[in-house]
Amino acid sequence: MQLTRRQLAWLLAGPLSARPQPETQRESAEELIAAARERIRRNAEALAKVRIPVETEPAFQFRAS
């Protein structure tokens, strides 16, 4: 089978060489958990700034059946 240079490059650039070496591996599990908690805390903080009218119900439904 004859390959063009483009096809050869495509084959060489296969999945293994495309796999990154994650930087996150350098972070400890504790640091990642702390970062995740901080992200959730920031989200909750953003939500706390919204004034919610008292009559507002949550956006889910329960139907008796």
Partner: protein, 479 residues
């Protein structure tokens, strides 16, 4: 029979079905050709989770038998397709893209797959996805059992997620269409990055029975396909009430763009800042051309902006909470450590700690968002914005790396339409609209709940006068 021509792999549903009905080739021949291509090229893109050759050939033989007897079941009869590997097929592995579930075999089949089987569509494979559809928040494209899904337009780029394999497989002509799912961006992103048409249906229109749950209040299943027309044909089959899905809206969908309101009567809301500042510079010219095309179709434009809410924070908190609850057993058992993405592991664990107060606050704000978007969509029929602000990111870069050194625009425009639309359960149609750095880009049309026919009518006209959806990746090797 001689090998089928390459064009077959990029043909739309109606064309393929018409040629099947005319007996130019059989469903078995078509299915074999797609299977060979999927099995050969799918792994090169990390797009294939599981080939379903035996099942597919059984379904194809049935389609041939029925076509021979003129028992015609509609345009999807005999059409090979793929499904994101979060949809269960009884008796075959369903991995949810995640190592802890690599050997999972469920004993039920997803409603959407049953519906497609009923009209004669042929399921040829399960397609790769980001593990657990991204629950917990992933940082790398490699967060998948198959590794990073490579973009057929440029294999140094990501196919998008979490319906990664669905986007890549359609773009590379490995399937005629695919099913994906979206909680927040998981149909939109791969459709935009891979240059295919995607449809995120209204929440509740399509049954999720048999699909992995990430967020019970936000998950939707929808098609990625060659055109708006094909998305309409698929949605007509997979929509409808289902007593097995508590979120089912009990509504059906009949694809009838011919009965949609004339385009000249439609009002489109857009925010110039989305196209002038939020969009990456390389993408701006083609985004502007897309707006010009929509104007040329007679649509009337009006400037709008989203009401001021912390959309991303609300969506993030809801998905974190529901996702952690859905995978509580995985997390507490410690098997969560088998996931590929360290950030995702941490995100899932932290999600278990969200307070009920914060979750309920998010869900109450979500109700306010829904009400405000209803008002916005009373003034306009459709919102249009870039589906993503730029083309696919590099596989080698973390997904949270900012690609622009420019300061964030002060005007939010419709920049949060992805989060807002998903929170409000609104439908979205993703239309390829050009290229940036030789990679596809797309716009999204977002409409009122259950307005899919309006979106599809606009999409069909857009694709009648453009050919972006017909473009093919340039460097595809022959199968």
């Amino acid at each position: 029979m001689a090998a089928l021509p390459e064009d077959i792999f990029f043909a739309g549903i109606r064309e393929l079905n018409s040629r099947l009905v005319k007996r130019e080739f059989s469903a078995v021949e078509l299915t074999r050709a797609f299977l060979d291509r999927l099995e050969k090229l799918g792994p090169r893109y990390n797009a294939l989770a599981l080939s379903l050759r035996d099942l597919a050939l059984r379904q194809a033989r049935r389609a041939d038998d029925e076509i021979q007897r003129r028992r015609l079941r509609g345009p999807l009869q005999g059409i090979p397709f793929g499904a994101k590997d979060l949809l269960s097929v009884a008796g075959t592995p369903t991995t949810w893209g995640a190592r802890p579930y690599a050997n999972q075999v469920l004993d039920y089949t997803a409603t959407v797959l049953r519906k497609l089987e009923r009209v004669g569509a042929v399921l040829i494979g399960k397609l790769a996805m980001i593990e657990l559809a991204g629950g917990g928040g992933y940082r790398w494209a490699s967060a998948s059992l198959q590794g990073p899904c490579l973009n057929p337009w440029d294999t140094s780029r990501w196919a998008g997620g979490s319906s990664s394999g669905s986007g890549a497989a359609v773009a590379a002509g490995l399937v005629c269409f695919a099913l994906g799912s979206e909680t927040w961006g998981s149909i939109t992103t791969p459709a935009a990055y891979c240059g295919v048409t995607g449809l995120r249906p209204t929440y509740g229109l399509v049954s999720r029975y048999g699909a992995m749950a990430l967020s019970w209040t936000m998950d939707k299943i929808g098609p990625l396909a060659r055109s708006a027309e094909d998305c309409g044909l698929i949605l007509q089959v997979i929509s409808g009430g289902d007593s097995m899905d508590p979120s089912s809206a009990g509504k059906s969908f009949y694809y009838a763009p011919q009965f949609a309101r004339p385009l000249k009567e439609l009002r489109v809301g857009f925010a110039p800042v989305d196209f002038d500042e939020w969009a990456e510079p390389a993408a701006r010219p083609d985004f502007h051309k897309a707006l010009d095309v929509l104007r040329s179709l007679g649509l009337r434009f009006r400037e709008v902006r989203l009401p001021d809410f912390p959309y991303s924070a609300v969506a993030g908190l809801i998905i974190d909470t529901e996702g952690a609850a859905a995978f509580e057993e995985l997390i507490t058992s410690g098997k969560v450590e088998q996931l590929a993405d360290a950030r995702q592991i941490a995100g899932l664990k932290a999600g278990l700690e969200v307070s009920a107060r914060d979750y309920l606050r998010a869900m109450r704000i979500r109700r306010m968002i829904q009400q405000e978007l209803r008002k916005l969509l009373a003034d306009v029929d459709i919102l249009v914005s870039p589906a993503r602000f730029g083309p696919a990111s590099k596989i080698s870069e973390p997904l949270d790396r900012s690609r622009s050194s420019a300061p964030r625009p002060k005007d939010r425009g419709l920049a949060d339409l992805g989060a807002a639309g998903n929170l409000a359960g609104l439908p979205a149609l993703i239309l390829p609209c050009g290229f940036a750095d030789s990679l596809p880009i797309a716009i999204q049309l977002v409409g009122r709940p259950f307005s899919e026919n309006t979106l599809l009518a606009v999409g069909r006209e857009f694709q009648r006068v453009t050919d972006w959806h017909r473009r093919r990746p340039p460097a595809l090797p022959a199968a």
